[in-house]
Symmetry: C4
């Protein structure tokens, strides 16, 4: 059902807004409609009080298929969602948010990946190893978002990421999953890990 | 409608109070009534539980036009709001809050401005640049608030600020916008940036 | 009205609990009943879900006058409240909470007072000065609370405190005011100042 | 009553989730059913929205006695709860959560225990001493949780812990108590102490 799907995004957006991950209209959430299109938050809306009017449906080529309100424009960052749904056919939702912590972590490395600490929480990302050694992909930010999307497409076509999450420098984290619930769990875990990484540096260990 | 306007301020004040930006009666919010006057929170009220009785309407000269309760006094900081509405005729709302972070950031510079980091979030302040270089105006604090207001008027008459926000040392941030929604978005973004600035110093980069 | 008074404390306790200032049954709140007695939270109750059954009324000598439930015992810290109401006849409420920040600040000095930073928020404690220089009284902690209470009595009998608040080392802050609203405002301001003091040390200024 | 017990866990889990202690399905809570079995959260459920369908009843040998939904599996960490209820017959509840702070503190020592600071809050763990010197037990993490459970059993059989709480490195804290209320109070206190320990290191004292 369309309204169920939008309600799922509305509820998630309000929760992420309250946690400070989507302030000032930042970020965007999407959910797959069918194999060839997805619903995404329209541009410029406060994420703490979305309504069913605040969405756009676009196909994997980025063409608008349906507007829940005639004034809506798709987010500038829709191209990143297109790439995720194209690369990962099993993905049913894709969440992009801007926590302060994600931005701080994105500046900890000049390389293309960030090493994650060996926390038990890593199991929640689907990695069952003792003392797990996992890396999260990191991309450069560009004013033109399609250029970022292309970089993601190019790199992930060559080698799949280790976990269903990626960072863009100064521009938040993006996660995806096989259901909205799984996607939210992944987001909570990566944001938890960001908080851990920053605090651990602070105490001069890890 | 008067009651709609006051309800907008009541709701915003409660949210900012809960975020720790308006504790102990600190700060004040205003919304334009017409081109020549605005409603502002009365002095000494807890911002977490304002009612429609807790406002004063003043004109651009600071004269009281209307009281929502006969005991109300305009806030001591009304003069700053007068200056903002005088300088920026398009401003429909002006929010002044006191976060811990704003006060900390206000002590990071002895100059008249603070440099902001090149976050993607800067786009939300209306600045669309790659690697944006933006400064926020900083003013000295004085016991007599009209003296602060005069300094703002004098400096901004010579050169407009780059973004719709200003800091007063040890005395919080003030933002304004073309609607209450835009003003709140701007406030959320500048407070986000303050958190980023402080944390980034902590981790010895930026 | 008794029930109005208790409801005021119940509401305040829930809010302070949610802010992390009264976790694990810590702290206690009181409100004056008449010039010779006050209601105080009973010992060992979770402050997030008090009911009207969770209070004790004691007189200024610490004798129990009334129990809202027969099993109630007065808090071990009642003696501190006795001293406050005895020394400050205008006090109508007294709140004692244990934030992490208060305990950290209490370890920043070996002296009998902590210097507060010159924030605009200081005005909210009744100090109207440019660049205000204010100190908060600091007391040693003892296993026997009446010994702490005696130290407060002795010192404040010689010289009144500059502001209506005091710290006990590793044992939280106590504030009082001419109404429950004023007492809560004072508490919010001193906790705000504690957060500022700690963060300012962190960034190596102030 | 079964439903009362499950509701107690549902309410506690939602609160701990909101505090960031059970994000991404992490952690698990249990409550004793009778001397020979206990209810525990089923594996893989979001702790912010548990229902009465999300539990499993197991006996002290880890055998499933009852499922509140046929698809439920007991948590991988059930073995830790078995050990706690076996060692401490008076325990009526056992809560295991994963705060960022617990994981950070678990890395502060290479030894088998963490020293706690002499805070007044320590009284809430049942230790009434002036300047209390208390240690919390620390265990190594293993991919196979029963191996952790065995280590707990072995060490506590030789010497009981000083307080009803234990840490596993990178794997959160576990507390238990004579009632769900007491267990929650203990959890709140140990998490408070973790925040204090970390912040105190930050300010280079304690």
């Amino acid at each position: 059902m369309k309204s169920d799907r939008l309600l799922t995004l509305i509820t998630a957006a309000r929760q992420f807004y309250q946690q400070g991950w989507m302030v000032g209209t930042a970020g965007n959430l999407s959910i797959r409609h069918d194999d060839k299109s997805f619903w995404i938050t329209a541009s410029g809306k406060s994420k703490g009080k979305l309504t069913q009017q605040d969405f756009v449906r676009v196909n994997l080529a980025g063409e608008v298929m349906e507007l829940s309100h005639p004034d809506n424009r798709p987010s500038a960052e829709t191209s990143i969602h297109q790439v995720i749904y194209t690369l990962f056919p099993e993905a049913q939702a894709c969440y992009h948010v801007h926590s302060v912590e994600a931005n701080l972590v994105s500046n900890l490395s000049n390389h293309e990946a960030i090493s994650l600490p060996p926390l038990e929480m890593i199991k929640g990302l689907g990695v069952w190893q003792e003392d797990p050694q996992v890396k999260m992909s990191l991309f450069e930010n560009y004013l033109e978002v399609p250029r970022i999307a292309q970089a993601i497409y190019d790199r992930f076509t060559i080698a799949l990421p280790e976990i269903p999450a990626l960072l863009i420098r100064n521009h938040g984290v993006t996660v995806w999953g096989r259901s909205p619930e799984e996607t939210q769990n992944y987001l909570e875990i990566v944001e938890y890990i960001f908080r851990y990484i920053l605090a651990a540096r602070n105490y001069s260990y890890q």
